[in-house]
């Protein structure tokens, strides 16, 4: 799968949309747990997109893609858990 300009643009629009969504979520009257969960979900999706497409790690050795994804997942989960507790 070769990276294309179209793919990049699509990812960019997705990131913008997710950013606006997460900012919008903050102004809704959601329960804290739900807000944390939803916002962190957008963060996770965004970072995975950045890792795979912008950083081009989708075609990288599994080790490096895995390391980056694990790090992101770890940060998001750790933040989520400590915020909710």
């Amino acid at each position: 799968m070769q990276l294309t300009s179209r793919k990049l643009t699509g990812t960019w629009l997705l990131l913008i949309a997710l950013t606006l969504t997460s900012a919008g979520l903050g102004s809704l009257e959601l329960s804290e747990e739900l807000l944390v969960f939803l916002v962190l979900l957008t963060v996770l999706i965004k970072n995975y997109q950045i890792i795979d497409v912008f950083m081009e790690l989708k075609n990288a050795p599994l080790l490096w893609r895995g390391l980056m994804q694990c790090f992101t997942l770890f940060i998001v989960v750790a933040v989520g858990v400590t915020l909710i507790i």
């Binding site: 950013t19 997460s22 790090f71 940060i75 933040v79 915020l83």
Partner: protein
């Protein structure tokens, strides 16, 4: 030209930068976790503090960094197709986009400090100023790296090997990734 075979797994950029990126993410992870732990220990203080921030500026900064990252990714794409002049051009556009972040961040610091908040006010402001300023310095550092890359690209420095462009870009995407966590953590989740 980049002669990577289609389907072959390859890591873009220099291996050293990836080790460094992991180290950087570790530092930021520690900072974020300290922030969220302190927040759950000082709920009211953090709520009051967060109310003094400017979510709109945070949003603008997120958009500017994401867009800048996008432009830099485009530049790598051009470089891999051998279009180095275009590649350099997009790096410059990426830098210009990121400068929006610098201006907004500067305004935000100014307005907070005018109200008398600083690193020493309380734990919230200590962490807010330190984490965002630490990230701010990363943006500046990233811009310096990108300027070096753009200059070298303009002079045709990457004709045989675009590793340098990829390395600079990877660092820049990391700076973006960190802000993507930082923005909701500090500005959105109240």
């Amino acid at each position: 030209m980049n002669k990577s075979v289609v389907g072959q797994k390859r890591l873009p950029g220099d291996l050293a930068i990836w080790i460094f990126i992991l180290a950087e993410l570790t530092v930021f992870a520690a900072l974020f976790i300290v922030f969220s732990v302190s927040k759950s220990l000082n709920v009211e203080m953090f709520a009051e503090g967060q109310a003094t921030l400017h979510p709109l500026m945070g949003l603008i900064n997120t958009l500017s960094l994401i867009t800048s990252s996008f432009f830099v990714a485009k530049s790598v794409l051009f470089a891999s197709q051998g279009q180095l002049a275009k590649s350099a051009q997009w790096v410059w556009i990426g830098i210009a986009t990121a400068s929006i972040y610098i201006v907004t961040k500067f305004i935000e610091y100014q307005s907070l400090m005018a109200l008398g908040y600083n690193l020493r006010t309380n734990i919230f402001y200590t962490l807010y100023f330190f984490i965002t300023f630490f990230h701010f310095m990363h943006v500046l550092m990233g811009i310096v790296i990108l300027i070096v890359v753009a200059n070298k690209a303009r002079k045709g420095g990457y004709e045989s090997d675009i590793t340098g462009v990829e390395t600079g870009a990877s660092y820049w995407h990391m700076v973006d990734m960190v802000w993507v966590v930082l923005f909701p953590l500090i500005y959105v989740i109240k």
